[in-house]
């Protein structure tokens, strides 16, 4: 696989994509496509729907790259947020929502190329942080993020006031942020050279 652009930052690649440099889009896909697909598959539980969500998200990157502003946040966050939104929209539309928590869900057999060591490390780190959260906060994050439920639906489903759900979400994300802020926690591409 040609990785001529491997030394560039994500943000530089987005800038190149804004100038119609297709190899930049390809490099962004090579960095984040697997994570994007894993996320979409987790939310949608269907390969075709997951592929569609990932494709639409990357095409949105392609179409709107000129409007991306690095001051507003990381390119990787932007890309994966696009994927997540598409996946959540689709799972709601297709009425496919499921309430399995992350570790209850059967892990699919990982076929094909071995998982990148970087991705593996990130996954362990985030899963460890999730385990550190109080159950109620973790549940709120997982049901919302992976399940595609709205906060109102969660309130109803869990029999809790809306305000409680809001604070669990906020508390959970804040605590995760602290835990992941430990040194060495990078969730964006780090050049290997």
């Amino acid at each position: 696989m040609n990785r001529q652009l491997a030394h560039l930052s994500d943000e530089a690649l987005v800038a190149l994509a804004a100038r119609s440099e297709q190899s930049a889009l390809a490099e962004l896909y090579d960095r984040y496509g697997r994570t994007a697909y894993g996320l979409a598959l987790r939310v949608l539980r269907d390969q075709t729907l997951a592929e569609d969500a990932v494709q639409e998200a990357f095409l949105t990157v392609w179409r709107t790259a000129s409007r991306f502003m690095p001051e507003r946040g990381k390119a990787s966050t932007w890309i994966l947020t696009l994927v997540h939104r598409r996946a959540v929209d689709a799972v709601r539309r297709e009425q496919r929502r499921r309430a399995d928590s992350l570790d209850q869900a059967a892990e699919p057999a990982v076929e094909g190329a071995e998982e990148d060591a970087f991705l593996h490390l990130q996954r362990e780190r985030v899963q460890a942080a999730l385990r550190h959260l109080p159950d109620a906060q973790r549940e709120a994050l997982e049901l919302a993020y992976y399940g595609g439920f709205t906060q109102s639906e969660l309130a109803e489903r869990l029999g809790q006031p809306l305000g409680t759900i809001k604070s669990r979400m906020f508390g959970g994300l804040s605590r995760m942020r602290e835990l992941l802020g430990e040194p060495g926690t990078e969730t964006s591409w780090t050049p290997t050279t």
């Binding site: 119609s20 896909y29 996320l39 997540h84 959540v88 990982v110 094909g112 942080a129 906060q151």
Partner: protein
């Protein structure tokens, strides 16, 4: 509705569409929420990395890149030109050939992995993007040309090739002009030396 306490839900995409719209309107007025959202977005995205999946099928990558290529309406792909053996008096007729876009030449060295495109700005400035073109041999250079419809080729920039190249074409590129690339002696030429390696379709 107090929108400040919706930031976490918005970061998790856990708002209904009308709630999300209302929050977005609030966001445009609230710097504090924008800052907080930027932080929480990053944390929420970390949850994406907690998933595990098999590698996506190869067709997905191809599908995305094909669709992206097809979508760029302001991008004109450069096509490799093929020889149509006509016995043309090459030197004298070169300019005319290129101007009317007669198929001109077979590249001497096959370079199957070259992709090239011209991106036009609305005000007529253009950039040439080429990837996979091998570097010009020593003593040679690549030269880009802009050929207005019915006019003569005008030099538009020299570049050495190799890897990915972006060339800002000199001058503006009028509508219906052709952009072409030839290989020239170092320092360039004032008229193109056939073969034309790539050109925009006419």
């Amino acid at each position: 509705m107090d929108a400040h306490d919706l930031t976490a839900a918005y970061a998790l995409d856990a708002l209904a569409p009308d709630e999300a719209e209302a929050y977005e309107r609030h966001l445009s007025q609230c710097e504090e929420c924008r800052e907080q959202l930027a932080e929480l977005n990053e944390t929420a995205t970390a949850l994406a990395f907690a998933t595990v999946a098999p590698a996506p099928p190869a067709r997905l990558r191809a599908s995305i890149l094909d669709a992206a290529a097809a979508e760029r309406t302001n991008v004109v792909p450069l096509l490799r030109r093929r020889w149509v053996a006509r016995g043309l008096a090459v030197a004298a007729a070169a300019a005319a050939c290129i101007a009317v876009g007669l198929a001109v030449s077979l590249s001497q060295s096959s370079q199957p992995t070259v992709t090239a495109s011209v991106v036009l700005d609305p005000n007529g400035t253009a950039t040439l993007h080429i990837s996979g073109l091998s570097a010009a041999p020593s003593g040679k250079t690549y030269e880009a040309w802009v050929i207005p419809k019915g006019g003569s080729p005008r030099p538009a920039g020299l570049f050495p090739g190799g890897g990915s190249t972006t060339v800002r074409l000199r001058g503006t590129v009028p509508r219906n002009a052709v952009v072409a690339v030839t290989r020239e002696r170092a320092g360039g030429a004032s008229t193109p030396t056939p073969p034309v390696l790539f050109s925009t379709p006419t």
